[in-house]
Symmetry: C2
Subunit: 500 residues, 2 copies
Amino acid sequence: MASSVISRHLLLSCHKSLHLSLSGCRYASKVATKTQVNLDYDGPSMKTEIPGPRSQALTKQLGDIQNVGAINFFCNYEESRGNYVVDVDGNRMLDIYTQISSIPIGYNHPALLKLMSNPNNLSTIVNRPALGIMPPENFPDKITESLLSVAPSGLSRVQTMACGSCSNENAYKAMFIWYRNKERGHSSPSDEDLNSCMINQSPGCPDFSILSFMGGFHGRTLGCLATTHSKAIHKLDVPSFDWPIAPFPRLQYPLEEFSRENAQEEARCLEEAEDLIVKWRKKGKPVAGIVIEPIQAEGGDNHASPDFFRSLRKIAQKHGCAFHVDEVQTGGGCTGKFWAHEHWGIEDPADIVSFSKKLLTGGFYYKLEFQADKPYRIFNTWMGDPSKNLLLAEVLSVIRRENLLVEVNRSGKALMNGLYELQAQFPGIVSRARGQGTFCAIDVCDDETRSNILVKARNKGILLGGCGDRSIRFRPSLVFKEYHVHMFLNIFNDVLAQIK
Amino acid sequence: MASSVISRHLLLSCHKSLHLSLSGCRYASKVATKTQVNLDYDGPSMKTEIPGPRSQALTKQLGDIQNVGAINFFCNYEESRGNYVVDVDGNRMLDIYTQISSIPIGYNHPALLKLMSNPNNLSTIVNRPALGIMPPENFPDKITESLLSVAPSGLSRVQTMACGSCSNENAYKAMFIWYRNKERGHSSPSDEDLNSCMINQSPGCPDFSILSFMGGFHGRTLGCLATTHSKAIHKLDVPSFDWPIAPFPRLQYPLEEFSRENAQEEARCLEEAEDLIVKWRKKGKPVAGIVIEPIQAEGGDNHASPDFFRSLRKIAQKHGCAFHVDEVQTGGGCTGKFWAHEHWGIEDPADIVSFSKKLLTGGFYYKLEFQADKPYRIFNTWMGDPSKNLLLAEVLSVIRRENLLVEVNRSGKALMNGLYELQAQFPGIVSRARGQGTFCAIDVCDDETRSNILVKARNKGILLGGCGDRSIRFRPSLVFKEYHVHMFLNIFNDVLAQIK
């Protein structure tokens, strides 16, 4: 990493140019205020447009092997550090997208490098076990130290999985099994159940459904995809299930200013959700479970109030449906609490909470009654990966040691204030700023302008991602500090000034 | 690993006791013949019954966190080496199950330990990228060096995924997209397609199907599960699709002795498969693809002839269905060729070949025409894991350097010969020995006796797994040598003698 030591002492060209532009609010003084030593770079440093020539050549090379239509650029992960991702052309960007919100504590955190260079951990990396039949000796302790130490309220059990989609697929299965046993009154299937399921027919494969929400995203495998309704391109041409889809509230922001209108909108959605549960039961396709994100992420950062979720939780209980909160994108601290559902303030928020991304391993927490009654029902070869649990335990330790949830709340407040100022200043371009912690978003007037903004910001060293039809989502890692927020706001202000 | 150096010089108690028993064939001389230096232990060494007290305590501890019904015992992976897995009670077993057939070159292979202790690889372990948008610089080279170097005939492209189920789910999606574009005559969906898919309805979510085979296993997520028909417990209570299921040939073994009867059985199955394709098309649920294992593994190690697969491939072509060969368990060299479908001897064996387990990463190879026409159709956050590609590249290098496919063929021949002798000697207990390479199996008279045999073998230091209703499957890693076969046969002979 010799070259990076040199580069962090270089003045960054785009940063200098910023100070020539004076439109909008500036946070120059705060940029210099660092309250703690860290291994971040001093700011972005851009050498080429993105993608640069080396990224273009590698994209061409990879294009002979697979679809490269979504490739942004190629990275130099060795040189990336903290909040900065470095690409193969030597461009260094402040990363507010973090691999689709999946990097918890920045790149190359020293604690993780130290952990993984410990020879005692080599065996865990090299010998991947079949966790469901022959776990390693330290597995119960490692799960206790990592996942159970942040278990959601009321959920004492956890099953790891390899990715977010597998986590939700298996959570759905757990809900179906639970529902069917409840319906039976016992857990002993009949011969007819056993025979019919082998040929995909009921009663063995019952016509159960999962209620999901328009705009929701829960993954891309066939079961998950039947509950995903964010973009057509995810679902097009893939067979699906006839499952009910409720409207998700379309709220007005800032929430405080529209509480009456928003409460009405939420009541409408709750009523329709309940109607759908009744309707699908009558259709012979009873709703075994409800799945929902605390903030619809991929679908456009759509929020709902704690009241909405509390009422929905009650509707689930009233109709005997399981309640599954998908925290794959919201989990891990980015909303200012470790789980976004903690903002609801209830003791019994869910029957199942699934996770992945920033947790580094997929999986789901569940109540004892959702544990499959027999082995091999929720099962696969790997059932997760102990090397990811190892990393997660250290990530959680860093979050505690470095007080990162406090930092997220501080940075999140600065980010929201900045976004409010920007939308006041550029009302024709951006609107509907919203967020919790640093899990924030803003809408752009149209999709084309959004693309334009994302490209311009990237070429100035700010990496962002879109979501929904015309939103920009902010997904920094947990080490994104207040001075990073200010650095971002200064550059973003200039980008918007250029668009204006 | 100091203690292991000591333990390998200890005489193993059960091995000594073997030489007192003289029933059946013995391979004492060959046990001592080692043709090359390796880091294996000298043999099993048992200290307790399995599970021992430490495993029992850990199982109890884990039982407070998740379902432990399938746990066999807890492992000490640090002390495990080569063909031997060591448990937490100090028992050392010759492992012929290898984490459900997922350990390619034994435990703690020195080449893998060396690779992962190289500081240059730390960043790959610590910074998991979103491969679909920001791959690391070495990604095209690493994929070329690893997966593409063993690409099946005719398949030039590959997409990595996190696990076997995700690989098959995405392969199915690729087949659906391909089929629908073929049906449309172009790749531009109508507004009706785009709108209807958002609510899970046709034509956007078409009523396409995948034809699978009774006894097949392709994973446990909802899409995969609709093509899995090996055991009821995998499918019970989970909603499914009305997709066609063809009979898989029930052959008589040894294949050479029953070629006429087996050809008739295969013809019957082929005819029914073709009838189902026609029938499902008439039902309005056309078969977009056929999925099949070269050897049905989980379903009971059911073989079919190269003729059968060649004919099925032709039926797929005739009816315009994609042909997907699932090599999740058969791939990676264990059948004596890198891919089991290479035994069919055809140039164009498949449109799609999926893999996982011994390949360490999931994924699927495909023809260019099966590449999704747009980005984000076959996509997820991680799209695999570069740290697994790194391991795979080294595994493939070891397979070449150590000539492991030659070893597999040699060991496989010895294993089959031994199994033939055993079934001749214990005709009331074992029968139907069958296999390719070391991917072998034998049937036991009934399920109870099979359990009895598996437990007795394990307590003598031989770790085996079952499959199907009453089969035992042999799934050693690729470093399983002829002398390991002889060691196994000696012990297994004694187990069967005790059952008799």
